[in-house]
Amino acid sequence: MAEKRRCHRAYIWELFFKRIAVIIVMAVTTCISVAGSMAGGEAAVRDMSRLPWGKMLLLSLAVLLVFGGVTLLYCAFQWRHTYISLHEDALDYETGYFLKKRVTIPFEQINTIDMGRNVLEKLAGTCRLKIDTGAYSNTQEKNQPEMNLVFDLKEAYNIRRYILSRSEQYSHRQPYDNSRAIGEPKWAIHAGIGDFILYGLTSSSVWKLIWLLAIGVCVAAEISAAFVGRAMQAALPFLRDLLEKVEQLGAWKALLSIAAGYLIASLASDIVTILWAAVRFFDFRVARQGRNILIRYGLFNEKNYTLQVRNIHAVIVRQNLFQQLVGRCSVEAVCMGLGDEQTETALLFPIIRKKELNANLRMVLPEYTTDMHTQERRSAGLLFHAVMPAMLCAAACAVVYRIGGHWIEHTLLLMLCCMIAVVLVLMGGVMSYFNTTLDWNQKIVSVQSGGFHKRLYRIRTDAVQEVQMKTDPVREMFGIVTYYVHYHGPRFNNTSVAGNISSAYFRELAEIVEN
């Protein structure tokens, strides 16, 4: 199977359109500017009409045709000199004639095989085969895959099957069961449209909640006057005065209008997010096949990833505030060669119940299923997570209120905003205190942190590169530190952080990582 394989002819057209795209944009821009000049009035039309339009058009067309023809020929020439050859243990990728490039990719080093298809490729019956080793590159801004070519769909499947079989044989020295890679895999996770509606709805940021709180205060002020006012006024005289003052303000109506506008905009953004998620992750499926994970999704732009389990270094479980409230989470895989490009998301489960996390992981990545006991929390942590930040925020708010009071007429609104800020900082701090954990066993280091945005990292112990603890004299007095766990990921400097935890665990954690 060492013969040279040329990619599909569609590759010529792809190269061609990439190269002439700039010319097309320039031509369109010129046409628009000419049309704009002609719309400038009768004098402009008269001046323009004097030009030899017929000749100019013919000349432009001739230039475009010649340029297009030469480009097309060059692309065909490029295609003719681009091929791959599959050997026993490596893949050779050669391209270029004048500037030759030859890349040898050992099968064992291949991290991700991506078989993506956009609408045009579906119509042409082709498939984009990307092969990525996850190597860092100094010459490229982003980590591009080592090979990115278009093949006939059947041939792409054959190439992938061959690479997987050779890779597995090479790494385990045992005969590869070729039948496993043929046919439809048994999908463990199959996300439906309901999941994406939930995914879109819960992908909102915390700012939405801040606005909701502000609206809540204003609405409470309005309602209190009409319905529950008496009861509230009787119970809380301070609140009565506050609400009365809020009512007197004309500004709060403006605030309500802004809030209503924001709500409409955020609703629209939710709908867009849901639609985007439903189209992008359409028919999302995940399966475990031997030592590989298969991920397939996409409506118009179909993605078909094959990841080697040994190259998955961590899983990240993310939960924003809304997801925490409804008990959902999304899971990402940290895999070499995937997620290092801007358009790539190494999503493993778009959204699942947090309670079912271990059950779902057991089906796909049992290596990351773990029941670790959480270490005891130090109550001093609460001081640094919540109390001190809230006090600092209150001090900053007092300064803002004092200075802002000179310029802002409605100081009560300013005070309300300051109070909301302090409450949010306190809330976030308390949540962060309860969310922060650091656990480990021989195989996995688990780091959980974040308040409104909770993140849980389950990192393979052998992927941890270094552990670090940072502290200051005040924290040191209480024996608490911040842990930084640096791990090997697709981007440089991947770190998970857990703040305000007892320093007593550092030595034990370092020993686990060393071994």
Binding site: E466, K470, D472, T495, F506, A510, E514
Partner: protein, 176 residues
């Protein structure tokens, strides 16, 4: 195994670089602040001049502290340990950092020498892992070279690439 300190000449080097920073960055910055605040005081807000003087004094005083006092504390805080299986680095004055890097995770080791380090015969050892780059700064240049070659051997031994050189070092600790 004991933690070791960086070279004593590091204090002089730190002071020298900070004097340069004082002359070419901090004093000009303070002068600019004074000019701007005095202009504001003349045009609009009288207390701006006092504020400007306070900012300029704070800037210069902080830099003077960096020159006189901090190198002594920094020198006491900066410590490193090269054990057979790991490297530990402690640093920082207010924010103290303690880092442990298993030797098996080191991808390669490099020695760098900056322009200001050369006159003092100092160098920095860079430890590249797959996740980060850590540095042991302000070591004597020949010691940096020794540490570098020792670590290369340890890394090779850990990865099973060079058994003979590694065996000679089994259980050993680097003593600078």
């Amino acid at each position: 195994m004991k933690f070791q300190r960086v070279d004593a000449r590091a204090k002089t080097k730190w002071r020298f670089s900070r004097i340069l920073a004082l002359l070419f960055a901090v004093i000009p910055a303070a002068a600019v602040v004074l000019l701007i605040t005095s202009a504001i005081a003349e045009e609009a807000w009288q207390p701006a001049e006092t504020l400007g003087i306070v900012i300029a004094v704070v800037l210069v005083t902080a830099q003077l502290l960096q020159i006189i006092l901090y190198p002594i504390i920094e020198y006491a805080q900066w410590q490193y340990l090269i054990a057979p299986d790991r490297i530990e680095i402690k640093k920082g004055i207010f924010y103290r950092t303690h880092t442990v890097i298993p030797i098996s995770r080191i991808q390669h080791v490099a020695v760098t020498q900056g322009v200001l380090q050369r006159p003092f015969g100092l160098a920095t050892v860079q430890l590249h892992t797959a996740g980060d780059v850590m540095e042991i700064q302000e070591l004597r240049a020949d010691m940096a070279e020794k540490i570098c070659s020792y670590l290369q051997k340890r890394v090779n031994f850990k990865l099973g690439r060079d058994d003979t050189s590694g065996q000679a070092r089994v259980g050993g600790t680097y003593h600078g």
